[in-house]
Amino acid sequence: MEHHRHDVVVVGAGIAGLYAAMKAGESADVGVLSKVYPTRSHSGAAQGGCAAALGNEGNDSWEFHFYDTVRGGDFLGDQDAQELLVKEAIPVMYEMEHLGVPFSRTAEGKIAQRPFGGHFADFGKTAVKRACYAADRSGHAQLHCLYEQSLKQGVRFYNEFFVISLIIEDGTCRGLVALEIRTGVLHAFWARAVMLATGGYARAWRVTSNSHANTGDGLALVAAAGVPLEDMEFVQFHPTGLYPHGILISEAARGEGGYLFNNDGMRFMEKYAKSKMELAPRDVVSRAEQTEIDEGRGIDGGEYLHLDLTHLGEKTILERLPQIHELVVKFAGIDCTKKPIPTQPTAHYSMGGIPTDLDTRVLRDGKKQAVEGLFASGECACVSNHGANRLGTNSTLEAAVFGRRGGMVMARFVKEAGPILPGAERPTREAEEGFEHLCASSGPESAKRIRAELQASMTDNVGIFRTAAKLQKQVALIRDLKARFENVGISDRSRRFNTEITELIELKYMLDFSEVIAVSALAREESRGAHSRNDYPKRDDNQWLRHTLAFREADGSLRLDYKPVVITRFQPEERKY
């Protein structure tokens, strides 16, 4: 095993991880581990934009953004975190512009802004242009810029290093063990501060907008170390995944004026959100779509609907939505300037995650007690900004705001915390033994079958509409799959770039957190935001205005605990669009 030392080690090189690395890199020695080359991170797939109430294209204020975020999250978000998010959005957006992000521009040369679902001025009244964008490659532009700035800052990158274990002793995180995929060699990284910025987990669903890499690694890693996971039942389904792959068609398509039609040629959002139509928040639109599909009004009775852009005209589409045009041609063979796009809801984003405080410190009891030296930001973390449902364009925003904040906090922390502790033998040996055990897997079970069953069942049972029966079935199924996983076998015995092993570890991670999702969802007997229970169709603030915390006990079982929601300014009210 090779050993490395850095003041700060960041795991994951999306927008959150890179922003943290870049900021911490201003005064500390930073190493970034990423299981893919940094520019391959899934932040780059974000298309539509990044919210900030700059007011460049109409009257806007952070207070309106605050209200939209609270209401969009169905009042489950912690309002102290949400206020911080929307306030810092403004300077962070300017900072990103200064760093070089190639934003699209208004006629006066300011950062251009576009409408998006759930963005309103005057506390929910009229649509407002709030999403700052670079055509429909906003995430790509931000990701590349931050990677390049990190290079400038002298951040050390360990590309294609896959973390297999965190080293946490006596409530302090001291480092981690990672697999260098290229060689198959394990490396121990010792650090004062470790930040997890490993992104989302929607790969656990069959129909998903997520990349192959989005397997929730960071979540499984902290859960294995006894840290709880928060609000895992809240999974966002994006309304416009390209049928049948589920590839993302940005909400910008509706922001720019796209319509949704069912098989009867009806703009069915009239029935579900009369005033906001297609620009209602994502959970509302996805439920509407699923209802249309379930009631047989999908196109030709199938599992998709039409997203129609044709009335926008070729010029607008090619100028504002060029990537969408390209994607639809390449993956559906359809020219969206002439024909509607077949779309379906697709698993997209995890509102829940690793509980942190406002300074991105990971909370080992989920409430107050931090794990010293362990931080998390971006999609894998849960501060909680998004509550029960995330507003479009708040994801890259959260990654930027809290990644940046975490970077600065870590830089201060390592300065005060003293030298890196010497390496300990036991945790690295345990990680090595676990890894060798997996490499030697030679049972009769097929990883592919386990993964396919997991993904199909998550889409069926933990999809847009949930019931106790489906969720109970899913919990039992996952436990069965976990048992079968113990007898899995692989054929590749080589150590060199062995992706069969990395896929196997990812599957193990997915089984771990999927169980948490199903168990948390089963317990929450209400409908709120993205969590929609047919058997409990109403939101229940008396019982359920609280965050779920799921602990993995030493015996492998799950224990649920809850904590109150932070409410500062906006009292819960009925959510109507």
């Binding site: 300017y94 512009e97 040369g109 300011k110 390049e148 290079l151 590749d492 770039f497 069969e500």
Partner: protein
């Protein structure tokens, strides 16, 4: 429908020389080459190694040579290909294993061109102003996904992997052409070096290879024009 895939295999741990292995895959409608590779890996041969991530052409992981042409496996529809489909790693790069190539040099060349905004004046507390027309100057430059297809197709790079290559130079152009950037002179020691922009012979292989329809040759030409304006 069944299709045959002839795939480049190389693993120095097992055998010193590379070989081709043929697989038959039952292709479903709208499958891309990546879907087929996944099917092979998951159903037939777990030892086949390749990179993939976003599966919709924005991350640049799965660039490889498919029927002689560089492209993203996740974007190439199997139905658009004829005959036995030959899949090889990107040419010009060292192969680590199977379809996986060593991209470290590629990324170090990127870093060499100082791919970050070098502004002449400190920023205000608002955004820098840039007109839509000025912003248009970097259209066709900022969209690069760093998949490596262009550099891998460049004859100048084939014979000299110290040549910065089209991708790094496109990135340099993305900053040099940005009206907010004043860093041309800072980048000269790299761009105007023996392995800089002069090693491009306007062969246009990079343009043929780019899966995003970008034009790195034009970008390099623009850098030369900028340099000429500076020197004369």
């Amino acid at each position: 429908m069944e299709r045959q895939f002839k795939i480049y295999r190389f693993n120095p741990e097992a055998a010193p020389a590379a070989s081709f292995q043929t697989y038959t895959v039952d292709i479903q409608h709208a499958w891309t080459v990546l879907d087929a590779l996944n099917a092979i890996k998951w159903d037939q041969d777990g030892s086949l190694s390749f990179r993939r991530s976003c599966r919709h052409g924005i991350c640049g992981s799965c660039a490889m040579k498919i029927n002689g042409k560089n492209g993203l496996a996740c974007e190439v529809q199997v139905e658009s290909l004829k005959g036995v489909i030959t899949v090889e790693p990107l040419p010009g790069f060292k192969v680590i294993r199977d379809l996986v190539t060593d991209m470290d040099g590629f990324f170090s060349h990127l870093e060499a061109v100082k791919p970050w905004l070098i502004a002449g004046t400190p920023p205000t507390d608002k955004e820098r102003v840039q007109s839509p027309e000025d912003r248009k100057l970097i259209d066709g430059l900022y969209e690069c996904i760093l998949c490596g297809a262009c550099t891998s197709a460049c004859p100048s790079y084939w014979v000299n992997d110290d040549f910065l290559g089209p991708a790094a130079l496109l990135k340099a152009a993305r900053y040099v052409m940005d009206t907010r950037d004043d860093g041309l002179t800072d980048r000269l020691d790299v761009l105007d070096s023996r392995n800089g922009i002069w090693r491009c012979h306007t062969i246009f292989n990079c343009v043929e290879a780019c899966p995003k329809s970008l034009n790195p040759t034009e970008a390099i030409v623009k850098l030369r024009q900028k340099l000429a304006a500076l020197r004369i």
